[in-house]
Symmetry: C2
Subunit: 107 residues, 2 copies
DNA sequence: TAAATGCTTATCCATTTGGTTAAGTTATTA
DNA sequence: TAATAACTTAACCAAATGGATAAGCATTTA
C-alpha cells in the first residue's frame, strides 16, 4: 500500500510505532502482546498498527480471535538500501560544515 | 538537539523534508536554492528546515543575508547504523508470514 | 542612499494525528 | 449456553502540523 519512502519514514516517526517494529524484529506477536507495554487504550494502539501495515512495515493475519503481526522484511531492506546507496554522499564531505568553511576561507 | 530516533524518522517523514535531505546530499545549498523546487511560500519552507535542523539531520550557517545548509553526516550514520544492527533480525525469518504459516501448519 | 535580495517573525487557519470512551462482533472456555 | 477474551467500529476531542499572508530587518547592489 506504500509507494513513497517518506510514508515509510512517517510510520517510524512515532515512539509507539518504532517500539512495535523493534518488538516484531524479535519475532511475530499478537495485538495484545504488542499493546502490553504501551499505556494507551486498544483502539488507539490498533490505529498505530494500521499505520505500520499501511506503510508496508508489518503485515498481519487473523486466526480465530487473535491477530498475529509480523515484520515485513522487504520494506526494512528498502530502507536500509536507501541509506546504503547514499552513504558515500554524506561521507564524501566528512563534516560538511568544516568542508564548507575550508572551501570559502575561514571568515 | 535530537535525542530519540523516532524524532529523526519523523523529520524524514515528509515529502518536502526528504527532498531537501536528498538535495543536501549533493552538497551545501542556500535556503532559496533549497526552496526553489518546492511550491510553497518561504515561511512554510523554512519551518521544514527548522524541523530538519532540530532533528540534527542538517545544520546551517548565516553569512551576510544568505543562510547555507549542510547535511549532518553523524546523524545519517546513526540511522544507517540502526538498520545495519537489525538487519540480521529481519533477514533471519526471510519472509515472516511464510515462516509463521509453516510453524503452525498451513491452516 | 534608494531599491532589491534573502531571509525572519508574527498571526492565522484547515486538516491530520493521537488519544479517549462506548458499544459491538467473533471466537474460546467454563 | 453463559461468560470471557480478543479485538473492531464508531463517534468524539485537543493538540500538532503544514500551509497561508503581512510585515519587518539586515545586507548587497545600483
Amino acid at each position: 500500500m506504500d509507494k513513497h519512502l517518506h510514508h515509510t519514514f512517517h510510520a517510524l516517526g512515532d515512539a509507539t510505532r518504532l517500539a512495535v517494529v523493534e518488538q516484531l524484529l524479535k519475532g511475530p506477536a499478537s495485538v495484545s502482546e504488542l499493546a502490553g507495554p504501551h499505556d494507551m487504550a486498544l483502539p488507539a494502539f490498533t490505529k498505530h498498527l494500521r499505520v505500520l501495515e499501511g506503510a508496508g512495515l508489518i503485515s498481519s493475519q487473523k486466526k480465530g480471535r487473535v491477530r498475529t503481526c509480523f515484520i515485513q522484511a522487504p520494506t526494512m531492506r528498502d530502507l536500509q538500501g536507501w541509506f546504503a546507496q547514499r552513504q558515500r554522499m554524506w561521507e564524501a564531505r566528512l563534516d560538511n560544515l568544516a568542508a564548507y568553511v575550508e572551501d570559502n576561507g575561514k571568515g
